[in-house]
Assembly symmetry: C2
Homo-oligomer: 133 residues x 2
Amino acid sequence: METSRQNESQPSKETLEVGKKLVELCKRGDNMKAIDWLYAENIESQEAAAMPGMPAQMRGIEAIRKKNKEWIEQMEVHSMDVAGPFPHGDRFAVHYKMDVSEKQSGKRYQMEEVALYTVANGKIVKEEFFYMM
Amino acid sequence: METSRQNESQPSKETLEVGKKLVELCKRGDNMKAIDWLYAENIESQEAAAMPGMPAQMRGIEAIRKKNKEWIEQMEVHSMDVAGPFPHGDRFAVHYKMDVSEKQSGKRYQMEEVALYTVANGKIVKEEFFYMM
């Protein structure tokens, strides 16, 4: 028990491997492949806030696929910076900075957020998004 | 109970206020003031990994003051970018990117990390650092 508690915050090789793959795929715009390869079936997804038509908390890989597909359909990405992964035990963080436009309105703005991913058994079991409203 | 669970991931005004002040002070290099103003007495500090002379887990504001003072004494900061705060409920994340030199060896390198802060009763009660070794 003592040894595992001491190692709680040691970087995990598995976490680093999953994190590197996620960042690599996101940099290429391959977000849907990242979900297919790296997300657990019962993944938990938590936004910083609820928004119209999208609850803050969602569970299950199909719901997350749908959320991502809708985002890709609605938004045009002019540029995206992805920094990371930044690991800590069984979690890793990623910093995203994007220049986007809403396809429908043409409204253009910068988005910046930190995502915190929790890894178990080689898959991402939780994603939490941190951003200003 | 239900209402508080629904609000779990809603951004908290207090968290945002503490986060904005921390980022403001860090951008000015006023890290010691950030500790004085914003850290709880029994703050928990978790590094991504233990290092020689510095355990991964530390507790208590004096220990954290000492850790920070030693870092300021040993390192020269050429430039620092601070992005954030990025809030989520009672936590907020900050992304740091620094160009530093070790005063003793002259060795110069870039450091990049994400810090995750937990807020309770208007103070930071936990800080967790995420970085690649």
